[in-house]
Amino acid sequence: MELIDADLVARVLVDDDQHAFGELVRRHQSSVRGMLRQLTRTDVALADDLAQETFLRAYKNIRSFRGEARFSTWLYRIAYNCFREDARRRKEFVGIDEEQLQAEQDPQVVDSALRHDLMHALSLLPLHERSAVLLCCQNGLSHDEAARVLDIPLGTVKTNVLRGREKLKRTLAEWGPN
């Protein structure tokens, strides 16, 4: 009998059951670490540090999880906040280095071996579009859930997903066989 996330959360709340929390970490570590790897542009060490911070914060603040959203959605929000705070500390957040990074990773000079790599194409998107595409298209969140995770209006999420998708398609088409 597999317990659902809500049961495990209840055990953590009632019994301070760290085994139950461990099970939650095991279930969600891949998606949280994967999302952070994309947000940090595949900086694996930084992404894993942020993922650890995410789960530690989740444990300390688990009483604030009211079960209105899915546990994974709540985790993504914490992960995104961890990333945003770290990026602010590093002064690399939205827009500041985006143009430079965009120039550094021009699709025209990308190694041909990576041309069909969708994940690489995703990493070329600006942060606001990348995070929206990651959450909605890759992790299956609804636009509404993604808006709550990213703390931006619903309309902005929809626009970012639309633009992100368009850019991905364009990039992949450019990399595709002539």
């Binding site: 891949s30 994967g34 993922a51 995703l122 595409v133």
Partner: protein, 113 residues
């Protein structure tokens, strides 16, 4: 229609392109960093349960005129024929054992999951 299926295809490709990341000790590292579990909460819960049980016993004792119902029940039990006495004792034993076995099975399946 084509645009929608194109979007679906892109989403599917994105999901498939995201590799499953093996744990590789990640969970253990997180658990290692968690603060020690609060013993006070558990012991407090135990104390509350014990206090409630004692209070309920005291109330039952007072309400039953000093536990007279127990003396009456024991007298009735002692007056039963030997066979009936055996049936009551055996039935009670089976009932308690079944309840214990069910509780153990439920707990074991929870721990296994």
């Amino acid at each position: 229609m084509d645009e929608i299926s194109e979007e679906d295809q892109l989403d599917r490709q994105l999901r498939e392109a995201a590799p499953y990341l093996d744990d590789n000790g990640f969970t253990a590292r997180v658990l290692h960093q968690l603060p020690a579990p609060g013993r006070t909460r558990r012991s407090l819960r135990g104390a509350i349960l014990l206090a409630a049980a004692l209070l309920a016993s005291a109330l039952a004792y007072v309400a039953s005129d000093g536990g007279r119902f127990l003396i009456v029940a024991m007298t009735r039990l002692a007056a039963l024929p030997t066979l009936w006495f055996f049936v009551v004792v055996f039935g009670s034993g089976i009932l308690v054992m079944t309840a214990g076995a069910v509780a153990a099975i439920v707990k074991a399946s929870e721990l296994q999951s």
